[in-house]
């Protein structure tokens, strides 16, 4: 059953990427526990707007946990306290009356703050550009059922492909590594026969790019897996490492 709660928000406000930021405190009164976290922020923003104040900037789009656009660190945890849940899918019934919530943007060298809680994640796009694809021009492809893929392999590939590219893994990692993101893409494509011809080149290029973009190295902290809203497993990182070794030995298959 729905009830209402009162919260205190400490929100990171930063007018622009070069500006200095600071926490500001807001009261969030009469918040229905049926609201999503972002709806709670909407309510706070509506109140700020009516007072002529600048609303809190935050990215979001689908609000269904699939586009990967939303995400903030809530009380130290990317996407907040509920496991396997994006911020847009987190509902206020998981908070108690009187709670204080500290809300901050993703912090990492590779993701610059644009404003308040909105960050620049274009580094992820650059990673995909360096190899996160299969080279198959439109039209130049075989009949779909000509490629047999066991159900098990298809499921494993899908587990990896479920990544929404939100960046929580980077935000959670003490080294700000993008290994889970890259590992998921490398795994998906390495598992599938269509992806094998480019597997060696792909993994090498993507790992090189990751360093170039300022992401840190992986030291097996597993914080990424713990916060991933899609529960992408760190076995994908292990698979990436195996692919790297295979690539070093020059065997394409």
């Amino acid at each position: 059953m729905s009830k209402t709660i009162n919260l205190t928000l400490k929100v990171w406000r930063q007018p622009g990427s070069e500006a200095k930021g600071a926490f500001e405190t807001y009261g969030a009164k009469d918040i229905s526990t049926d609201m999503s976290f972002l709806e709670m922020l909407d309510v706070v923003n509506e109140r700020l707007s009516v007072e002529g104040k600048d609303p809190i900037a935050f990215d979001h789009d689908c609000r269904e946990g699939i586009c990967g656009m939303c995400g903030s660190v809530v009380n130290g945890v990317p996407h907040g306290p509920q496991k396997a849940t994006t911020l847009c899918q987190l509902h206020m019934r998981h908070f108690a009356d009187g709670d204080t919530l500290v809300i901050e943007p993703w912090r990492s060298r590779a993701f610059k703050v644009i404003k308040d809680l909105a960050v620049d994640r274009s580094a992820f796009d650059q990673l995909i550009q360096t190899g996160g694809y299969i080279s198959a021009n439109t039209g130049a492809v075989p009949e779909a059922n000509a490629i047999l893929i066991s159900q098990e392999t298809a499921e494993l590939a899908m587990d990896a492909a479920a990544c929404i590219g939100c960046g929580a893994c980077v935000a959670a990692c003490p080294n700000a590594s993008a290994m889970l993101f890259v590992g998921a893409k490398v795994s998906q494509l390495a598992l599938l026969p269509q992806g094998r011809p480019e597997a060696a080149k792909r993994v090498q290029a993507m790992v090189r790019k990751m360093d170039e973009l300022g992401f840190g190295a992986c030291s097996n902290e597993a914080e990424c897996e713990a916060v991933c809203p899609k529960e992408i497993s760190i076995t994908n990182i292990a698979r990436l490492n195996r692919e790297l070794i295979k690539a070093a030995f020059g065997s394409p298959f």
Partner: protein, 637 residues
Amino acid sequence: MKLDAKVPGGPLAEKWDKHRFELKLVNPANKKKYEIIVVGTGLAGGSASASLAELGYNVKTFCIQDSPRRAHSIAAQGGINAAKNYTNDGDSVWRLFYDTVKGGDFRSREANVYRLAQLSVNIIDQCVAQGVPFARDYGGLLANRSFGGAQVSRTFYARGQTGQQLLLGAYSAMMRQVANGKVKMFPRREMLDLVMVDGRARGIVVRNLITGEIECHAAHAVVLATGGYGNAFFLSTNAMGSNVTAAWRAHKKGALFANPSFTQIHPTCIPVHGDYQSKLTLMSESLRNDGRVWVPKNKGDKRSPENIPESERYYYLEERYPSFGNLVPRDVASRNAKNVCDMGMGVGDTGLAVYLDFADAIKRDGRESIHKKYGNLFQMYERIVGQNPYDTPIMIYPAIHYAMGGLWVDYNLMSTIPGLFVLGEANFSDHGANRLGASALMQGLNDGYFVIPYTVGGYLAGMPLGEVKDSHPAFKDAVQEVTAQVTKLLSIKGKRTVDNFHRELGRILWEYCGMSRNEAGLLKAKQMIPELRQQFWENVTVTGSPGEFNQTLERAGRVADFLEFGELMLIDALNRKESCGCHYNEAYKTEDHEAKRDDENHCYVAAWEFQGVGKEPVLHKEPLEFENVHLATRSYK
């Protein structure tokens, strides 16, 4: 203006082949001399950008999100249709074509729909080659499931994330071309105007959403793939950023807008539960494969569903439509849900919900099997509603979901503005007055991968185009107009928020131009919207400045367009004095309360020409001729 759909002659099955042969080709060496702008990176825009770049064109691609991978297509759950007939259950190109025409209640163009069905098979091949992890059978072959409005199993899927996987396929193909230098990607840009030179589309003006800078981009052709306008209703299943702005501003520059009142209401969404709500969540239609829809027979029965015995449950779809049962098309399922709730049998706190029950399916197939098919959907439901669908039925209610209407296009997907092509949900599409499930993904990819690469070439090769630079005076004019609007929005400093206006517009449209329409209501709304629009321009508050990341300003521009566009929806609905598909006018119904078409007088596409804000637009009709299917009364009984 005479609408010429440019449908090629000859037998239906040969039209596209013949047309491809007749379209002029751009010499491979010349392709690199052409710039093409693609606005939108959903399935339609992403696939178009990749394919055009592979051919050698220079492509500039724009989207409003921070990354092209986040376009609204990502949220599609259920699947994508293709006439592969892998299940050997009687499917064929012809059947997919027929189902789509019939599903659309005979308000779509035969030749386009046939081409769509024909090319559907290539889409699956393309996606598999890209590494889209579609579901597979034990033998390693592709799996299929059935979807509303069809009696064959032709839907391909990747768990409940089909749109995500297809979009990531198109996005990767496009990113490969970014690396190749053939696509230049401009994220966080919003197209605010179309620029025309000598009567042709030659560029766009966009706002850089980070810096607020107004930028000009020139090209030889412009492709709009900016998605649907369902958010006119405020509450819809669309992503928050989905909008009509790009299409509407092109409309104001002369592109005709077709069938704007054709909006699909999806039957299986999580019901509205509060005033603060920002969006409605779709529960994939595929759930209707195994879930049974029912309400208590006794009005106002407040017992929990488990305590209501079989004999006191009304499985209204199964009873009313014995041959399609729970799988009737969306418009029929939605209207029936409204009907039983209007009769007082609705459930939940508001009485505006019906049950979708999996108890029988779990008994039959086991919990594990149901989990495998719908696990992620059930989890999503539990997160939002706080109830577990394995133990208690899901509650659903219809919500705005998809726009069949859109900018009018000919067989080449070109609008009435030469050089302006429109793809995906943004065009008035192949779905007539109602879209069948799993057909939007098919259409978006079809348009982008397989149609536009040919037809853009045909356009460019067909006529010499002079050079146009972004310093051309036409750009200056457009920049001035756009800047003036931004300045105006920021200067009003009124008392009501943008969302507050948007909500009110949504309530008006839902009430009077939603699932069920009547003349008096439409006329009333037609008074209300211009008043609301006037209040908006006098009393809206938009904080911040133009030269910064300003999300309120972004939304204000979109709502300003919805406030103009909403009126056109009403005008279109008023004009169509019949019921067809989603457009249910209470005055035109059969004895069984089904939509009653008037083929004699309304078998046409209504395409509207802009005359100025608040002025009556001019109607142009494209008559629909059915040479291959028989115009029949749709029946799913």
